[in-house]
Symmetry: C2
Subunit: 237 residues, 2 copies
């Protein structure tokens, strides 16, 4: 099995098989939490405006502006909040820039797109191997075109699980991610050093960092299942 | 001093200050070797055709097609060969795709562009600090849009030297490069695992890999000094 890690989304990338999209702080962590809380489906959209277009009494809007809940939204993008949110049986519309962009790019060519984080790392790696025939790719969302230490670290944890479960041929990106993983035995240390974590601290959301640093706590793996307008629809994989 | 590492060239990148361009297997290693051998200037061009346009009795053409010397060229891109080449006082035109592309991109906005490798790592880091006022950036050339373990490893070695000489604020990319460096105490091991090294082995040029893995053997640092047509002109920094 080929194991490939792309450290940033790039328009020219082509995925023949399975892609694990990683935006660990916080979109893909929060996505697993909404499924844990019983959400029926997640609609990932690239902007607050796109989310508002889905506003309806049966729909929960989640998003952030500068890390915080935007006006007219039901929830922010905090995974702690998502885990406790009353979303049972509902559609959650998540407005999230980098994660949606990466998932959209992966979905243009891949057979299967999964959302992965540290929180669901083991389940996501297992599900990827279940679906893959030739390649598992991990696509790091990064932040506005800059590579994210948090996402590359998470890719390293996923790569490690994949390598334990199956013989893999890592590409250069996978070797880089594995090295980053090995340099930081403590996930919280790695995540805390990232620019994404610094941005959360800046808006008083630092409690989300240790939450996102929890490894393999959830078996929920969002799987791309369709599209409606600008939204990518994810359901339980 | 800000310390920034970009793991791949991207058109939208803007450099306010100094950039160290890294294409360790083999362009930036070979560039330092040509200066060691006494070359007056290096012209980096993006294609064999662009190089041929400079053909003249006082000019040495160096390039590769599938790793080997192209017809009509005086030399290949091997650093071992460059070190012994009779280029004293001459202009060497180097055709090299990924390195030239990265240097061209850096040169669009940066104040100073230097060519760095393991071979000149210490001198390149020192020169960068000498020239910089706010930021030292390291731009990894990669290979046709894919990140290279060899270049990111070299960025880590440069970042380590920079951090020893000056207090630096590393970005996420720099932290990733430093982690890759720390995961591989032996430079030859890191370089040997890269896709670039595998490609060299495929054409019987594996002896260049240990050469490129030598650290801090040269004080020659090519500095971008001008342009002529498609060529970027580098001279001793
Ligand atoms: Ca993020
Ligand atoms: Ca990130
Ligand atoms: Ca190269």
């Amino acid at each position: 099995m080929r194991l490939r890690v792309d450290l940033l989304p790039r328009e020219e990338l082509v995925y023949p098989d399975v892609v694990l999209v990683v935006d660990v702080i916080r979109a893909t962590t929060t996505a697993a939490c909404f499924l844990e809380a019983g959400a029926e489906a997640l609609y990932l959209v690239p902007s607050l405006e796109a989310a508002r277009a889905f506003k309806d009494e049966d729909v929960v809007l989640a998003g952030e502006a500068g890390g915080l809940r935007p006006s007219g939204f039901d929830l922010g993008n905090s995974p702690r909040e998502a885990l406790e949110a009353p979303v049972g049986g509902k559609v959650v519309v998540m407005a999230t820039t980098n994660g949606t962009k990466a998932a959209h790019l992966a979905g243009m060519t891949a057979k299967h797109v999964l959302l992965a984080s540290l929180f669901n790392a083991h389940a996501a790696a297992r599900k990827a191997l279940e679906l893959a025939t030739e390649e598992v790719a991990i696509l790091c969302a990064g932040k506005e075109g800059r590579v994210g230490l948090d996402d590359v670290y998470t890719a390293g944890v996923l790569a490690e699980y994949l390598g334990l479960m199956r013989e893999v041929e890592p590409d250069d990106g996978a070797r880089i991610a594995l090295a980053v993983r090995r340099a930081h035995p403590d996930p919280l240390e790695a995540l805390s050093l990232s620019a994404a974590a610094l941005a959360l601290k800046g808006v008083g959301l630092e409690a989300d960092i240790p939450f996102c640093a929890q490894v393999a706590k959830s078996a929920q793996v969002p799987l791309l299942s369709g599209r409606v307008g600008e939204a990518l629809i994810f359901k339980r994989g």
